[in-house]
Amino acid sequence: MEAVSVKRYRRFERVIEFWRAYSRTRLGLIGLGILLFYTLMAIFAPWIAPYDPKARVGGSFEPPSAEHPLGTDEMGRDILSQVIYGTRVSLLVGVLAALLAAAIGSAVGMVSGYFGGLVDDLLMRITDLFLVIPGLPFIIVLSVVLGPSIWNIILVIAIISWPSVARLVRSETLSLKERLFVQASRVSGATDLYIIVHHILPNVLPIVAASMVLTITSAIILEAGLSFLGLGDPTKISWGTMLYFADRQGALLSDNPYYIIAPGIALIGIGLAFVFVSYALDEVVNPRLRERER
Amino acid sequence: MKTATILEVENLKVYYFTQRGVVRAVDDVSLEIDKGELVALVGESGSGKSTLAYAIMRMVPPPGRIVSGRIVLSGIDITSLSEEEVRKLRWSKVSMIFQGAMNSLNPVMRVGDQIAEVLLYHGAVYDVEEGRKIARELFKLVGLDPERVMSYPHELSGGQKQRVVIAMALALNPDLVIADEPTTGLDVTTQAKIMDTIRDIQRETGISVLLITHDLPLVAEVSDRVYVMYAGKIVETGDVDKIFYTPQHPYTKGLIGAVPSHIGPKKRLIALPGEPPDLRSPPPGCRFHPRCSYAMPICKRKEPPRTGTGPRDFVECWLYAGEEVKKVA
């Protein structure tokens, strides 16, 4: 009992220490602030958005006005409301796809690194193959085969995102395997599964978490690309599908270019936020990096 | 009769202007090398030896800067030259055997071509083929198989690379070669062979050599004169015999004391108590006083004057200052 609470306390202390280091990086705080903004926007979309994003509330392609700050689309729907609702799909797809990729990648990486030998060779060949297969063509093929739904998109993005996690986790596992506490555990008769779950996994989690930040960014951009090609979930409003319709319906030549500009700015904003956070994490995890730059 | 002076450093100050303060790496240093001399510059690491060497090449890396003083090389004051003028003097008047010389070879160029290139850009040859021919000759001079000119650095052993670097330093027949720890990273036998090569070539060609090292037995064996550097200052200089048999400065005494004999097993140089000072805020007065067992009250207050001990020799220590100087102080 006591041991557990001490362990918990230590963990808590480490979190505090981590936060102190993190909050000293200005970019990290900015990134976190932007992310908080997006998250609140996604959660409270129905209350924030001025209109139902799917309802006709004005003429087609109205330029920005007091009523519609970003104007309307071809069907007279409010752009600002669509952008706000679009946050939901982007965040959902980004986070879930990255989580799934992290799970697959960690499992493959740990098994490969821990067992080594033939298992390692085979898994790494497959990992390398997935690394070189061009991402967008692959998810295009997969989403055509699987059919358009938001869950398929998440699955498909995870399928092309796990290999880099696997590589990372494998190399970390290789060094952990040689550490004393793992060796000791093995000598005392712990099973492989026990060692992986109790010793390897907790120690690879931080780097997996750090790598997830960038995976989320690329997942969000991939979703937007896929949706822009018209292969997204047609029932959900996302920034990518907005751009798809904007392009198809001739927004370029219309009176309301904000139909195109706004979703892109939203995408860049969220992407920058994640990049800032990842940059700050790098600084906290690798203080040497900072020293060297000086 | 005095032979020609190849290098004359006068009251040179080189400071590094870092974010955490000004590092006085070379502080009011004077030094002379005559034609054909092999002069050693000894001191602990961080004493400013390498900075002095880089200053002589006019290559002090930023945030470092030559603050004041003169460096007269073969009659030319290089401190006032433009970058382009300095470039032409580099290697033709003064060349360098770098510390960790094996890393000073470009990994993706044949070693012969690296020598040929120097000749080419200084206008000594007209094409690479001619340059390679001279490289072959130089290889013979330093005891390398001339066919090695076509090798890449990674195909050579440490000792061979070192010989390539020496050959390269001789390529333009300079007046002065600066050898900065030329034998670090080599095994003892190779070290001895390399040093013999340098000494032989030096005697044969009459090139002056400034040997920067903390390897005292080596200094005793090969050098003509010695400068002892401590915390950015020259604390004592003299003929090699004088420095080794009758050292004056307490620091020099400490150094020599740490070496049991000239031929005995080599010991680490630093057997003195204490640490060298932080050059951002060196101690007042004599910089050595915190580690000096002869320290007097005046040593803590005022920098020691330069006391001549021979025609070109001096020591900077209150122990040897004349009474009249002490009175004024």
Binding site: I133, P137, G225 | -
Partner: protein, 325 residues
């Protein structure tokens, strides 16, 4: 290890990757519900004659392992089937005008990005200053997050709609008569400008940063210090000694990043209606043109695998140390 042994090892690895990839494709295209040919019928103008041909070609009446062998043979022979939409052999569709258009786009944009990125990167590293450092970092971060298709749309908005400097779409002006071949080329380049600029700008950030960071660490190498000491002209020190050693990562990146390159091409070609294989892939996906989809996916991945292969060989050639690892 000599160069020959190295080539042999990499060739075997390439072959294994290729077989694994074909197995993956075989599996993916079997994922389609039911008989792969069945669902096609409802979706496209698809005759039963074509269906029979397809069934025979894919060997759907045979056991699975035989099907896989037939599948591999067809792919490797370049028998990629007949397009449902174009009613033409897929191979002819890919290896024709469309491939040339894509190559023109990619070579123009990547050549520019590489060239500008390299020169700027080398220059920034050599004259490293604080303002430049921060500016380049922010610039690269922003470029990293701009979706390529959105940048394309912005370029269209600014340079084709707002100012009518460049055309909105296509590779040439439709139904135009050309008096001279140069006139034709001029028209082609005029159409190429915006899509090429889009990809160039997106790639530039990465190329610049890689070059700059490698240069910064190479500059600290002793052999660069030595090159300065040798009194070599600054240009020679920078380009021959520093930049040449800093070139390896960017060369590797250019080759290994073919996967991203292709993805960018698909989106950019769609935005600008550039008649290349990226747009063909998009059309195949939208119209469920499975033979084209499958054939293109195979060809694209094969190109990427080969690009990786040759990059490694080039690396081994440029850096003699690699072979001896």
């Amino acid at each position: 290890m000599g160069l020959r042994a190295y080539v042999a090892r990499r060739t075997i690895e390439l072959a294994i990757s290729l077989i694994l990839f074909m197995a993956l494709m075989f599996y993916v295209f079997r994922l389609m519900p039911g008989d792969p040919t069945a669902m096609l019928i409802e979706e496209t103008a698809f005759t039963s004659e074509m269906r029979e041909q397809l069934r025979r070609m894919w060997g759907l009446d045979r056991p699975l392992h035989e099907q896989f062998v037939i599948f591999m043979k067809n792919l490797l022979r370049g028998e990629l089937g007949i397009s449902f939409i174009y009613q033409k052999p897929v191979a002819d569709l890919i290896f024709g005008r469309k491939m040339l258009n894509t190559l023109a786009l990619l070579i123009a944009s990547h050549g520019m990005a590489l060239l500008i990125g390299m020169v700027l990167g080398v220059w920034a590293a050599w004259r490293r200053g604080k303002v430049l450092d921060i500016a380049s970092l922010v610039w690269a971060l922003v470029l990293h997050t701009i979706p390529v298709f959105w940048l394309g749309l912005m370029f269209l908005l600014i340079f084709a709609v707002h100012n009518k400097w460049f055309p909105l779409s296509g590779t040439i002006t439709p139904a135009r008569d050309y008096a001279h071949v140069l006139e034709y080329m001029g028209d082609y380049l005029w159409h190429l400008a915006l899509p090429a600029a889009t990809i160039t700008l997106i790639r530039l950030g990465g190329d610049f940063l890689i070059m700059r960071n490698t240069m910064v660490s190479v500059i600290r190498e002793d052999y660069v210090t030595a090159a300065i000491a040798k009194g070599l002209p600054e240009k020679i020190v920078v380009w021959k000694h520093a930049a040449r050693n800093a070139m390896l990562p960017i060369v590797t990146l250019a080759g290994l990043d073919m996967a991203t390159v292709v993805s960018g091409a698909v989106l950019t070609e769609t935005v600008f209606s550039w008649d290349g294989i990226g747009r063909l892939l998009y059309e195949a996906a939208i119209y469920r043109d499975y033979p084209v989809l499958q054939g293109l996916f195979f060809v694209i991945t094969l190109v990427v695998l080969l690009a990786n292969f040759f990059t490694d060989l080039l690396y081994a050639y440029l850096d003699p140390r690699v072979r001896y690892d």
